[in-house]
């Protein structure tokens, strides 16, 4: 190798090292904010967490103590109702897309479902406002559940389709060969075979909706008191966190951090549960 080639090679190696360093640096940069957010939520949130946080309702500013029981209970109720609304539609759309690939409406269904999937969450809130809040004459937990349900439908449809398409076709063929009609094959063979994936998809949709505040601003609306009646305005953690964060009160800011931590824990827990479910069942 002559000298000139050696220089070129050295330069190429230098570029190689430089690029490797740049890639590593960019990766660190990408996670910087996430890690900072998590560290702050942990440090600031743990201080405000105590049993009262889960057992008592919120207090007016200036009064120390209190918790966010009403928001935690509200989150669970509104999100569960939303899931109940979304599940039949999401599952059916997913089954239709995966099990009836030649169905004439599938291209339109996929197009519209994907359109919904890309829509900003706040638009689901607007839709629920027009469709539920206005006819019912007021804000309510139920309208919030509809907003979250609308949001979950395309997510569920997509995950169901993906999971069902992973089920080996031999299972379907075996069922059909035994003389089972198609609907029994789907209900008794395909869905059970895919159940871990279905559970994972459902949990992930639930977690996604649990963190949403935007669609609930003008549907569930928020409520400082514990409310179990879904026809009345209800509180949820993301909503309460937002209201506390933009308030001028120190006590509420502390509670907001705690709410952020609990919200994060709830979502991390659901995601972990989803991962566990995908291996366990």
């Amino acid at each position: 190798m002559n000298r000139e080639e050696g220089i070129v090679l050295k330069r190429r190696y230098r570029v190689e090292r430089l690029m490797k360093a740049l890639v590593a640096f960019g990766t660190l940069l990408a996670f910087l904010v996430l890690l900072l957010v998590l560290v702050y939520a942990l440090v600031q949130g743990v201080g405000a967490l105590n049993p009262d946080f889960f057992l008592q309702d919120m207090r007016p500013p200036g009064e120390r103590g209190g918790g966010l029981r009403q928001a935690i209970v509200g989150t669970l109720i509104v999100d569960s109702l939303g899931l109940l609304i979304a599940l039949p539609f999401g599952l059916a759309a997913g089954i239709l897309l995966a099990e009836y690939p030649d169905h004439p409406i599938n291209p339109y269904l996929r197009l519209l479902s994907d359109t919904l999937n890309g829509m900003p969450a706040i638009l689901f809130g607007l839709l629920a406002f027009v469709l539920v809040v206005k006819p019912m004459g007021g804000f309510s937990g139920l309208s919030g559940a509809f907003a979250l349900g609308f949001l979950m439908i395309p997510i569920l449809a997509r995950s169901t389709e993906g999971v069902l398409s992973l089920v080996p076709k031999e299972i379907r063929e075996a069922g059909l060969a035994l003389g089972l009609p198609r609907w029994r094959v789907i209900l008794s063979l395909v869905l059970p075979a895919a159940r871990s994936g279905l559970i994972t998809g459902t949990l992930l949709a639930f977690a996604r909706a649990a963190g949403e505040a935007a669609p609930l601003l003008f549907t569930a609306f928020g409520n400082p008191f514990l409310e179990l009646n879904p026809f009345k305005p209800m509180d949820t953690l993301p909503l309460r966190l937002f209201n506390f964060a933009i308030s001028p009160y120190e006590d509420w800011h502390r509670q907001a951090w705690a709410a952020g931590l609990v919200l994060f824990a709830l979502i991390a827990l659901t995601s972990l549960l989803a991962r566990w479910a995908s291996r366990r069942f």
Binding site: A30, V33, L96, L109, T115, L116
Partner: protein, 314 residues
Amino acid sequence: MRWLYTHFGDRIFAFILLLLATGVMALALLMAYELYRGGSPVLHGFGLLGFALDTQWDPVRGKFGAWPYILGTLIVSLSALFLSFFPALATAIFVAEYAPKWLAQIINFLLDLMAAVPSVVYGLWGIFVLAPWLRDKVQLPLYFWASEHAPALLPLLGVPTGYGLMSAILILASMVVPYTAALARDAIALVPKEHREAAYALGATHWEVLRLAILPLARGGILAGAFLALGRAVGETMAVTMVIGNSHKLPYTIFGGAATMPSVIANEFTEAVEDLHLSALIAVGFLLFLVAMLVNFTAAYVLRRQERLVKGAL
């Protein structure tokens, strides 16, 4: 009975599926229709373009123009996309090419986590950590420097409050990283290994393999990821609302407050008492619907073309 179970059962089952799926399709169409209908008093009164391009938004005097919000959305989401592009691409390359398996698993988990952390939690951090820090450590020094050495810059910089375009862009940029990164990662992983091996066989270094054999083929996937991230950025509501300062006074400045389409809906909807105001906000929602649809269809189109390209390369 037998016939009922086999033949009729299939019919009923397919019919129920069809009915529910029609509900899903109706939901998408209803969204477009209801947003249009809800906003029609304003859309008809001012005209779609007149409404979109008018700069005046004054609920008290009943004047509504959405241009400040459209402009704000464009500035914030495009800048956030631009800022997030390098870290996202670097993460994708790192995961797909450099990282050992255990590290790649951790990074993939963190990417999922980044997409799963609720937007209000990012916003909370933005309000109490990012914005004050930016104000004290970045904006004020810059402001004082500019007032001494380059007063011409001052109108461009605006009031250094911390809550404004800059904070919104930064927080949004860190939120949309996973969308670009995930699609870019998958696109890189899908490049046929013959391409990689051919480049290695010619004596290319790892970076040269990436630049010459892998990234050009993965370009479509990376682009689709960027569009997907843009779609998310356009619709992101809570985190942006919490730090952007919510001012629709044009012209926008780098430090000063601004507003986006989702942020104005989130801010004013529950306070809108007059029907025209409410209808103007729903009309903004309709515009947001159109923008989001455009961005997402572009992403889907680019991704489909990419899939054909990779298949063709095999």
